[in-house]
Symmetry: C2
Subunit: 404 residues, 2 copies
Amino acid sequence: MDHYEKFYSRVAKSIQASEIRELLAIIKQRQDVISLAGGVPDPRTFPTDYLAKITYDIIKNKGAYALQYSETKGILEVREMLSEFLYKARGIVVDAEDIIITTGSQQGLDLIARALIDPGDVVITENPSYLAALGAFKIRGAELVGIKIDKNGMRTDVLEDTVKKLVKEGKKIKFIYTIPVAQNPAGTTMPPERKKHLIEIANQYDILILEDDPYSYFVFDDTVDIRPVKTWDTEDRVIYMSTISKILAPGLRIGWIAAPKMLTRKLELVKQYMDLHTPTLNQYIVAEAIRSGFILEHANKISPIYKEKRDAMLRAIKDYFPENVWYTEPVGGFFVFVYVNKPGFDTKKLMKVALDKYKVAYVPGKSFHTDGSGANSMRLSFSFPPPEVIEEGIRRLAEMIKNE
Amino acid sequence: MDHYEKFYSRVAKSIQASEIRELLAIIKQRQDVISLAGGVPDPRTFPTDYLAKITYDIIKNKGAYALQYSETKGILEVREMLSEFLYKARGIVVDAEDIIITTGSQQGLDLIARALIDPGDVVITENPSYLAALGAFKIRGAELVGIKIDKNGMRTDVLEDTVKKLVKEGKKIKFIYTIPVAQNPAGTTMPPERKKHLIEIANQYDILILEDDPYSYFVFDDTVDIRPVKTWDTEDRVIYMSTISKILAPGLRIGWIAAPKMLTRKLELVKQYMDLHTPTLNQYIVAEAIRSGFILEHANKISPIYKEKRDAMLRAIKDYFPENVWYTEPVGGFFVFVYVNKPGFDTKKLMKVALDKYKVAYVPGKSFHTDGSGANSMRLSFSFPPPEVIEEGIRRLAEMIKNE
């Protein structure tokens, strides 16, 4: 019995230790298990020599600033660099004043959730969508409504019908959360028509859009249109967020939000109470990596590493998985999402069996869904293990799917 | 007009841009103004050579870990080092499992506020107390009750009466927030009898204590008892928090909470939604600074720098301030708190005059109070400017106090 229970807030009471989390923590100590679970970058992609050198120089030469308290919205250097970077790399036009630096994308999600969501407000997401985003919205009391996806990402025709229905019911829709490019967990990308349609719906029904873009630097097919939804934004409705976690190093915890100026000012006021500001040193490191042009070059250099791994996973799936499995064929990102069409097949219940008997781990897919569906689904990540380990992992998983 | 207003949550609506904040932002661009406002460390105390070297080595040799995602509660290395450090430096007995690393103390405050406070819950604090702590509790809807202080810190006799009264009224008191050593903003320290009395009250009335200890490494008088309240904790009621912001570098944003194990597990679950984890690299840096013994040695080395500045400020106050001013004589920390006994003297209203006419800045004291009092007070910080500038700042302020 936890005798602190009576001191907890309603938020704290609503967050329970998750079985999956506990199981995933165990995996780390199990050398015999192949993990296709966590979506962590391959550490071979970390530019350690480069980062060691620039960090040394920054502390040595600019320590009086880089080690000091700094502005809540982020140091000017990094916001200016990002303003240029977002234009050059993604065609997004934002002033340095429209950018706020966050302690990783997760803080961006939490910050926006705190600034925009009251209990009972509706947030629309893709179904399935990113687990930790759904969590951040849910602990603010959001009512999540999921829109189904196909191989071209969110079905905006379904979105339109759903919005119409919700508005008719008098619901308050605060924003539509989307990962339009190389979606987590499905790996899909919306074509330009859908991105434009999304904007039209937001304009017509007076809704904001929260666009999360962590994976667009790892899109393996040149014909895919990776332009952000924000580039079609006509009424300043799109809040765009991204991060260096995948293209430089997640351990630095640097993300950013580019939003309409008035909104950025409000986010800044809320963030102040959350951590005063994101670590100054880490911001200087990112500013330098952008300034020197290193970051884009590096992203392009490491992208083929992930392509090779995606190819290995898809090949192994084709070779080993039985007919009754439906899976996404991601154009980019870190993940393949899988549905097993077999009555009673429950990936959460099978988790222990997977670890103990088949020595393979995945993330059960139900929690990526907003509507309680997806018990028969799982997310597989190809980002961390080498190709031959991915293949063996898929082979083991195929055994489990056939036998259980 | 902010046309995003209708999208904001109640929390966001409740946080308004503060006039003071705007004014303080302006100061930075004003070379002619002497700022006694922000409590930022003197950058001459930052060990840049040392930090540049160890950071280089960490990235170069442990980059695969130091640049990667890591555990929500903090990397094991830093929690183990802190467990030893807290015992050696402060006599606190906590296991590495009882510690959670936060992105600066501010995140610690926000995390605890989110985990413990529901709207209407009572939080007891010293009056005056730390501005940003009061803010973090208030945005969670806490009802703040302030306990007056004297030169020995919180009046625990008043605390006892207040708790009795609140309990009789049926109020739910969640915790007592205290900065027992070198208090912010008053610079006072509670003697052992008061610390013990505080524990007794918490035990008797079943309340938690949140002990914030950022300044105890800068106590300038060896006869002062700096032992934390937590060392007298008999029923696991004290949540202890501290930071390296003052003794190493605030720009790294590393703080920690040492709490009873069950509570730490809950805090970990809440933090996960806030930023996944505190930057890994920054944690490795702090682990190394503690492991090598550098950090304590360094704190002892830089403490005299702040003593000299405190002495300069108190000397100047004695020399220049008129009779009608009451001020604290801090045994440590960064601040002197001042009350001006002059009818209608309002430090917030005078802020613009102070900047434009007298070329000096301070933080108006009202927001440090829980009860709307303190319009005639201000917080003066001696941490940043050199002694001769402090003296000149006090001289200018004295002019203002006499003339306005």
